[in-house]
């Protein structure tokens, strides 16, 4: 191990020197120079063969030594399979769980956009958009006319790129005969070239394609893989998007699925200018598409800073252009209106993820690192205990001539074997777990472990190897040759040091366990609260899907839906059917202020005037199972020719019509001149999500409003709701073979998507808590049984002089209870910190929820008792005579 390497050159030189010396000797014996040389060479044999041996021998020796140590390590681990298995599984679970959570964190919070030189790429975001504009997100989206102005500033940014989805969800596409749905985006011509996204196949768009609104499409690598099995011949074929033919010209590089959170585009087309392909599948507003409409701020912008231009310089150039352009076509700003401001935001990572996942993932990462600390310290303690018990073996081996270095090397190899085994298992576990995590969290971007994750995991393993390596170090240094004889003294010493370290480690583990259990308790109670939140309707038996008819006029669209509802209602097993514009439980809603009886209503205590509204079909509330408190539901006789009717909820009445009889009042949106008579009042129920608070709501009858496009169909059926989907698809296909059912799912599942994050959070926390409990239990058990083993003689002596079994048991249990008490006392304040960090993720639970704390403390107590029961029992059954004879 410690020899200095001798070079092959040095060896060759020695051979040369030898040959010269020999030649000289032979000459002195009277041979001619030539003969002397020849004889010297012959006596030597093949120089090359010797040099090869020199070279090989050292390799071989090294390999041989490693192989021997490995064999020895395997053998010694095989002698204690329980220990080896526990250690490997513990490492695998600890490291695997960390790798899984880290790869989610990496994908969601740390990874840069998959574009060239992401540090030069920025999002262009507005604040204070002009007052009479409509936005998708008021802090994010910008109108097409403003984009057209900004992109001219080539000295600041090169280029500015716009992108906008074709629908909030998926759009209808057709490749062969079968209609399908896919996520599509309209983008600038320079989208791919500007971002520096390469093409896996074919080519991207050009600026010309944007100007001409060329009917071209680029597929994402994921979609190409999923739908076309990476068939290269797909280039040049036609993809029908909302029945408009688009020629596929390329496939974007692997891993690129757009630049926005939670969206993973299946395909991109250049910005279009036709009603079938309006942004967000909206019907034209006043006959204007997004391109011509300065009031509709719907595009998101991203840009690359021009070479040599800093972010501040670029912003200084763009700001005045933006502020001037913002009001183009909108008239002058109203009085007191704040000027619109453009911001540039780093595109280093997906911006939305930080908002929605930042805290939860960091808290999870913290929890899972506590689990790792518990796991690693467990294995380290196991190793210490095992090596302490092997002290006699070490002493004998030292006496037999092994050096300390050899002992240490072999112990290190044992640790390394454990870490390698655990690490391999951990990786398998992590790959599987991170995929599951992604599914649960509905994170659409790729979670495949990349190099960062690999480095992270290797780092953890190296940490583990060092921790485990230090454990044997102490033993190897402490053991002397002479201690072979003085075994009992040596073990007595080890016991003293051992128990102190062991106690500290156990207290730390119990402490972390309390923290994890409190966290898990809070999150599980949150989840239960969410799951038990009444929705105000009967979701069992409801199934929902979207339909976007290919109709041209309002009358046609109306007729389509009327016909569709009639046909669906006739299906066997269907109890009720209706339609709505915003899907319940999707997180979307239409919000605006409403006039009551011709003017904005008075509100008390500065309450909000916002009303959430929806456009729905006949029998809406009956189909959902929402009680109508007053008046009636919509029905088929409410048509475009009959008086406009609307329905509101309890909260609407309480806030805007307090103390009045609500029926007969006229309400309508504040911005346009259109109103309807309240004909019914329904009980409050959930609209966007499970965790929303009651808010005033109003419903329009679909047949009576002036614009109509994609609608969501709701069916109430007997039995499993999803079984009706194929039949419904057939009905739709009979009416128009181009129409897919968009995102069919049960209404329950749709509502559950709004609590996907708490569900994930609670499940993971519970899993980590459980893991911690398991690890702490095994750790405590290990330490206690080790100590009982060490004290066998002492216990035997105590019993010999009259100690009772109960006293012996109490002696052991008392010990672990004392440790638990310290662990709980130190863990509780730490848990409060976790509680504080979690506050934003709790629902219906306080951060200092007494119940969660109580359960955690009782849980830890139970583990401590359980883990000490067996060693205590064993201590009590020590036979005093035998125990004493051992010494």
């Amino acid at each position: 191990m410690f020899w200095r390497k001798r070079s092959a050159e040095d060896f060759a030189e020695e051979i040369k020197a030898h040959l010269e010396l020999e030649t000289e000797d032979l000459r002195n014996e009277g041979l001619s120079q030539e003969e002397a040389q020849w004889r010297a060479k012959q006596a030597f044999g093949s120089v090359r063969a010797v040099q090869e041996q020199f070279y090989l021998r050292r390799r071989w020796q090294w390999l041989d030594r490693i192989a021997r140590d490995l064999r020895f390590g395997f053998r010694s681990l095989r002698h204690s399979p329980g220990f080896a298995l526990t250690a490997i599984l513990t490492v695998a679970l600890g490291v695997g769980a960390n790798t899984a959570v880290f790869s989610v964190m990496n994908a969601v919070l740390l990874r840069s956009l998959p574009v060239a030189d992401p540090s030069r790429v920025v999002y262009l975001r507005p604040s204070n958009p002009p007052r009479n504009t409509g936005t998708i997100a008021s802090q994010e989206t910008i109108s097409y006319p403003v984009y057209a102005e900004l992109r001219r500033e080539v000295h600041a940014m090169q280029p500015v790129m716009a992108y906008v989805p074709l629908a909030t969800g998926k759009v209808a596409v057709r490749f062969d005969a079968v209609p399908e749905e896919a996520e599509g985006e309209m983008v600038s011509g320079q989208f791919f070239s500007g971002l520096g996204v390469g093409m896996a196949l074919g080519h991207g768009f050009s600026e010309q394609d944007e100007t001409n609104h060329a009917p071209l499409a680029v597929l994402s690598y994921k979609y190409w893989t999923r739908r076309f099995e990476r068939d290269p011949s797909v280039a040049g074929k036609t993809l029908y998007v909302n029945s408009v033919p688009m020629t596929i010209i390329g496939v974007a590089a692997k891993g690129f699925e757009g630049v926005e959170t939670g969206e993973s585009a299946d395909f991109w087309i250049p910005l279009q200018n036709r009603p079938e392909l309006n942004a967000y599948a909206n019907p034209p507003e006043d006959g204007k598409l997004y391109i011509a409409n300065p009031k509709w701020w719907c595009l998101r912008l991203i840009g690359r800073l021009a070479p040599g231009v800093s972010k501040a310089q670029a912003l200084a150039q763009l700001q005045p252009v933006f502020q001037a352009a913002a009001y183009t076509g909108l008239g002058n700003p109203q009085q007191g209106e704040k000027p619109p401001i453009l911001r540039l935001m780093d595109a280093k990572s997906f911006p939305g993820y930080e908002r929605s996942y930042g805290t939860p993932i960091r808290v999870l990462m913290m929890m899972v690192s506590l689990v790792l600390i518990i796991a690693l310290s467990n294995v380290a303690m196991l190793l210490l205990a095992r090596n302490a018990a092997r002290q006699r073996e070490f002493a004998v081996r030292l006496a037999l001539g092994a050096t300390r270095a050899i002992l240490l090397r072999q112990l290190l190899i044992e640790s390394l074997l454990l870490v390698t085994g655990g690490g391999a298992l951990a990786w398998v576990f992590a790959v599987f777990a991170s995929q599951t995590l992604g599914l649960w969290a509905r994170i659409e971007s790729s979670l495949a472990p990349d190099r960062t994750v690999l480095v992270f995991t290797l780092g953890l393993l190296i940490l583990a190897a060092i921790v485990f390596g230090l454990a044997p170090l102490r033993i190897a240094l402490a053991t002397g040759v002479t201690s072979a004889i003085k075994t009992s003294q040596a073990t007595a010493q080890a016991d003293a040091g051992q128990s102190r370290t062991g106690r500290i480690v156990v207290v730390m583990q119990l402490m972390f366990c309390v923290v994890l259990l409190v966290g898990a308790g809070l999150l599980i109670r949150t989840l239960r609260n969410l799951e038990q939140t009444p929705l105000g309707m009967d979701v069992n038996g409801l199934v929902v899907f979207g339909i976007k008819p290919n109709t041209q006029t309002l009358a046609e669209t109306n007729a389509f839906y009327r016909e569709l509802l009639t046909r669906l209602r006739e299906l066997p097993g269907v109890q009720g059917t209706t339609i709505m514009q915003e899907r319940l439980g999707s997180g979307w809603s239409a919000n605006n202020n409403m006039k009551v009886d011709g003017r904005l209503p008075e509100v008390r205590n500065r309450e909000s005037r916002t009303v959430r509204s929806n456009v729905v079909g006949p029998d809406f509330f009956q189909t959902l199972g929402v009680p109508v408190l007053m008046g009636r539901d919509f029905n088929s006789s409410d048509t475009s020719n009959s008086p406009h009717v609307g329905i509101v909820n309890e909260t609407f009445v309480k806030r805007f019509l307090h103390g009045q009889h609500p029926l007969g009042h006229r309400i309508g949106p504040a911005s346009i001149n259109w109103d309807m008579e309240i004909v019914g009042v329904v009980k409050d129920h959930k609209y966007r999500s499970i965790d929303e608070d009651p808010i005033p709501m109003a419903w329009y009858m679909y047949a009576q409003i002036p614009v109509l496009s994609e609608m969501q169909v709701e069916l109430r059926v007997h039995g499993n709701p999803l079984e009706i989907v194929p039949t419904a698809a057939k009905v739709v296909a009979q009416m128009d073979p181009n129409l897919p059912l968009i995102q069919p799912m049960t209404q329950r599942a749709q509502f559950d998507t709004t609590i996907a994050q708490p569900i994930l959070f609670a499940r993971l926390a519970a899993f980590f808590g459980l893991l911690a409990v398991l690890l702490v239990a095994t750790g405590l058990y290990g330490v206690l049984s080790y100590r009982v083993n060490m004290r066998t003689a002492e216990i035997g002596l105590r019993m010999a002089v009259g100690a009772r079994r109960r006293q012996v048991v109490w002696m052991i249990v008392k010990d672990s209870l004392a440790l638990t008490a310290v662990g709980v006392l130190t863990g509780a304040p730490l848990a409060m910190l976790i509680g504080q960090a979690l506050r934003g993720s709790l629902y219906g639970v306080k951060a200092f929820d007494a119940m969660s704390y109580l359960i955690a403390i009782l849980g830890v107590g139970a583990i401590a008792l359980g883990a000490s029961a067996m060693p205590a029992g064993r201590a009590a059954s020590v036979d005093p005579l035998k125990a004493l004879r051992i010494e």
């Binding site: 020899w3 010396l21 020199f54 021998r57 050899i406």
Partner: protein, 123 residues
Amino acid sequence: MTTQKKSDDRISLLQGTLDLLILKTLVFKPCHGQGIARSILRRSEEVLFVDHGSLYVALQRLEDRKWISAEWGISENNRRARFYCLTATGRAQLVEKSSEWQRLTRAMGLILEAGEGPQGEEA
């Protein structure tokens, strides 16, 4: 380690013999490879001829085991040569190996000179 060495010796006795000869040669004074070869030849009355190539492999092996150490120096006839000398471990090994060898030759001698068949022994 200890057990390992013993098995090596048992398998390749000749190799062990060469090692022993080298160690013995180096007892008196440090010497270079060619000198060792010459010395063995001379002192065995030209009976034992050591293949020079094998000698250097053996020297390297002994050096790796730290039984001998080496450094470059100047030979009696003013040539550069690598000089080997015995280490403390090497000296101890020499004692052990010599007695082993003597036991072996004695045992061999007993058997060969007696020339009788196997005898019953106590278990």
